[in-house]
Amino acid sequence: MGNFIVTILMESPYLWACTGLALCIGLSVVGSSWGIWTIGTATLGVSIHKGRLETRNLVSILFCEALSIYGIIVSIIMTTKAQTQACWPIAANDYMAGYQMFSAGLITGFCNMLAGFTLGIVGKGIAVSTAAVATLFVKLLIVLIFGEVLGLYGMIVSLIETGNASFTSCA
């Protein structure tokens, strides 16, 4: 079994690269959607009472949306890199490029996913508490900004890393 896994994993850096690409956009969207449904249901609930005032909570949903935009930026850059021709034998540099792409995707994916969970729970609390005390809204948005920045950190690191990654073209 161990032999099997090692064989599969050592087989090709392209597998690593494409898995990273999938995780990048996939996990970013998981986080973003988790945040949106948590905030969205709460916004609907409080909007029944004060309609136009409470729809300012859509700003929280905007923050969640930005996380998936980070994910797609990194993914698109990674797809341009992954347009390489596969060659045999695989050049040594390609192994490193594969690992770099995987790690970049994982970084962005997890950072955005967990930032999405955070924004969801906090945004829901904001929606409900500002329905009771209206002056809290602008101050509590700062918490959302800090949550947003967590996803941004992931994107920055991934961009630098994919900048370094390059598959050598076939001879």
Binding site: T38, T41, A42, T43, L44, G45, I48, H49, G125, A132
Partner: protein, 391 residues
Amino acid sequence: MAGKGGSSGTSSAVSMLYDSGEEVDDGRSGFYGFMYGDPKPGNLLSFNIEDGFLEAFVRGNRTKFLNANDYTNLAVCDSLDDVKMHLAQTEYGDFLANEPSPLATTTIKDKCIEKFVNEFNYIRSNATEPLFTFLDYIRYGYMIDNVILVITGALHQRDTAELLERCHPLGMFRTIGSLTTCRSISELYKHVLVDTPIGPYILQCMSEQDFDPDEQNVEVIRNKLYKAYLEDFNRFCQYLGGATAELMSELLNFEADRRSITITLNSFGTELGKDDRATMYPSLGLLHPAGVIKLARADDAEQVREAVSHILSYRKLFLDIGPGTEKSLEDAFFEYEVELNRSAFDTQMGYALFYAYVKLKEQEIRNVVWVAECVSQGQKSKIHDAVIQIF
């Protein structure tokens, strides 16, 4: 038996079969909880999937409670028409608009209850499992009161329509009409057992021979039914687990203790024996089991006070109602209840919020009715004695 979702374990009062043991993570509370027949409420991350909308809806109601300003305005009213006018400017709006001019306090009370029940039904109609079962549990308390009302009325051959009008709308169920047609005690027992959602409670507490709803015993029956109901509710909340179990156990413990103390105090001077009294104490609460044993042996108010004095919060309550003040124990209990429910109202990701909302609304209706009574009797100075500020 009148219940719903029969195949799974959450149907109505049949939940006596739950074992209230350790919290097991069987996946019923998470993302895929809906795949089980009887899911649990979600935790911090997944609560909003099912119940987020209703929780936000109820918590958005916070500003709709009457605040200190409103009560001050109401306190300077001269007549019930003034009260109506002031209430129209709050969130109550035009709820009294269609009533003929000489208003009675019973009209105000009925209309307040109607408004509250409409909100509750809105919540109930949007609820999914297990919140729906939880809301039904809240209603069983009112159902017990209604059933007792109908039973005593039926035995005294009262008019059916009049009886049903006096029932609390939150505790109405489809088969209550059949209770009014019974004429003998054993028929009543069978009908309550089979036709009402609280059948399992009466099965648990008394057999057909003990069921004797005449003047003295009807209160005993009511207390026993309520005891079975509280214990069942507690078991259900422990099954739900998480934040719900934690907070609801606090609220239900207070309810049980309050009933134990009130039963004891009300039984002094009646023919109720100590053993009979001991069977009516619910087996939950901070006073159970040590304080309850002392309560069962108590002979007067002083011994009752001693029996509960090992719990700090109850000792404080009894201190507050010393001989100097005009406050009664009931008022002190109401105040403490509002305090507990107010803190439960601010919690997230749990169902205790809905229970607290119902209790706080009840208190607000009591407040409004008290104000209306004082105004109509011209005793406006007494208003602030019994009005408890909610938020």
